[in-house]
Amino acid sequence: MERPAPECRLPSNSFPAASPGDGFLLRVQGLKKHFPIYKGLLGRTVGYVYAVDGVSFAIRKGETLGLVGESGCGKSTIGRCLLRLYEPTAGEIFFQGTDIGKLNPGEMIRFRTKMQMIFQDPYSSLNPRLRVREIIGEALRVHHLVPEGDWTDRVRQLLAEVGLQPDHMARYPHEFSGGQRQRIGVARSLAMNPDLIVADEPVSALDVSIQAQVINLLDSLKEKHGLSYIVIAHDLAVVEHISDRIAVMYLGKLVETARDRDLYLNPKHPYTEALLSAVPIPAPGGRERRKSRKLIQGDVASPINPPSGCRFHTRCPKMMEECRRIDPPLIEIGPEHHVACLLQGGGRS
């Protein structure tokens, strides 16, 4: 576990500013992940990739949070930090009240069963040398979640839940299509009866027609199993249908979070507006928006050397002079609607 950097406690611009153990399933506070860059003979650290640079949010039980942003904005990194596949550089992750960022591997096991992940690439997320029943059932057997003789029944059950046939159990991953493989991945994550599933770009590698199927599958499973989701995607259209709330990320920080409809009807951050204007699927107010298609200028800034002040200022069509200097914190401008933009009146410090 990396020791957090000294200035790890951000001023509380996270939402909602309550203490842990107050009914939130997951609360992330000031999460940072910096990857060091090594160079030179002795492997000196010459810089960092500021993949995640101070992110805070929370999820209630039964909620689905959509986490959206461009490639490289850090969203996948957040997902992996949550599961401690990466060690956070700073910040806390409270799961059901416990700070799991500080647990040792033995203690972590208990929580691992409650948080699972669905991965992006259906062609590398399943072990090609194991049969489907082993892929899904391995966790059951290793952690003795099910009496020894019953695990194949449970696997059959899980397969049925994701819409696959029981006789698929004996096959190998390469015999399945991309969409089917994702379903197997979903089944695998369900095996542990988790409370939270982090879906890391679950449909990015699939055809559009299949995407909807998988998203619908996730949605239908949610009610049935009392799941909460974090769905990570780079496409707003993907999360729109399934999310209760949406968080938009840019270059390692959150720029706007809101309830689903609020974000679509009333986006406040210029970046969100631009993302929405690119959505091809008819969304509320879509026709008007498409008329005023907002294009973002310029390329993505680098997470190694982020721009000063507001990170988006180099590409923002509404940039002001102060945006260069001041990095706006995330402030609440409506019920469960937070924005980090000086235009909304954030921090004149």
Binding site: R80, L83, L85, M108, I109, R112, T113, M115, Q116, M117, F119, Q120, D121, Y123, S124, S125, L126, N127, P128, R129, L130, E138, A139, V142, H143, H174, G185, R188, M192
Partner: protein, 301 residues
Amino acid sequence: MAEIPTSNPEIDEAAPSMLSLVLRKMWHLRMGVLGGLLIFCLIFIALFCPYLSPHDPFKQDITKRLWKPAFMEGGKAEYPLGTDHLGRDLLTRILYGTRISLVVGLAAVILMLTVGVTLGLVAGYFGGKADAVISFLVNCMMGFPFILLAMSLVAVLGASLQNIIIALGLTGWPVFTRVTRIETMKLRDREFVLAAKSLAFSTRRILARHILPNLLPAILVLATVEVARAIIRESLLSFLGLGIQPPTPSWGVMLAEGRDYMLLQWWLAAFPGMAIFMSALGINLLGDALRDLVDPYLRKT
């Protein structure tokens, strides 16, 4: 080393058509089948040589020394390949030599595998200092001519079947480590390994059930080729006098003995060498065909 076909008519007059690619594949497979056949013969001979050989490989008879092979003038049919300087039937000794070669080859490679793959897994999966040390070791050993190392080892340990296997195994493992390490490093970032980690599987389990099985194709191909190399190296050591000692019928020993007589009784050196050559060739052919088969599979996954 699979290539992507180009078709630049100015350069490539023999522009590969689909047909020629298919033919090439079939050719490779056919060669593989041939290799497989050769190996099958080898194993068969090794198992059943007492029943196949006309004579006793150790029986000496000075009155019959240096007789010509049956197909030459003056040769006798009961000694199809002639006799050596102690009157022993050459064919019989060659047949019995199969056993030595196969045993040594397989045992040495098993030793190499055990050491090499383990080190490669550690270096590839854990990285860091372990990797630095192991890679350094591998570099040390790989550039160095195996012969000196192996010879010295044998000289120090004494020349016996066991010690040769040990010497070969201890000098041949680096190539396994190198390959295992690279493949492991590729695999450890794959999503199914991450999934296994998120499912809280122990490192041992991940290595054994998730990483190792996916290494097998590459290692298998390598092991096949290394068996051939081990056979050649064993016969080399025996040839130099630092391997199997006479009267055990190792092909290398026979070559060494034959060398003294190569001026007149050339068959004493030619046929054992031919046996080594054919064995190595068969194994290499099989290995090449295996690699061809395994490559698209590796890439698909």
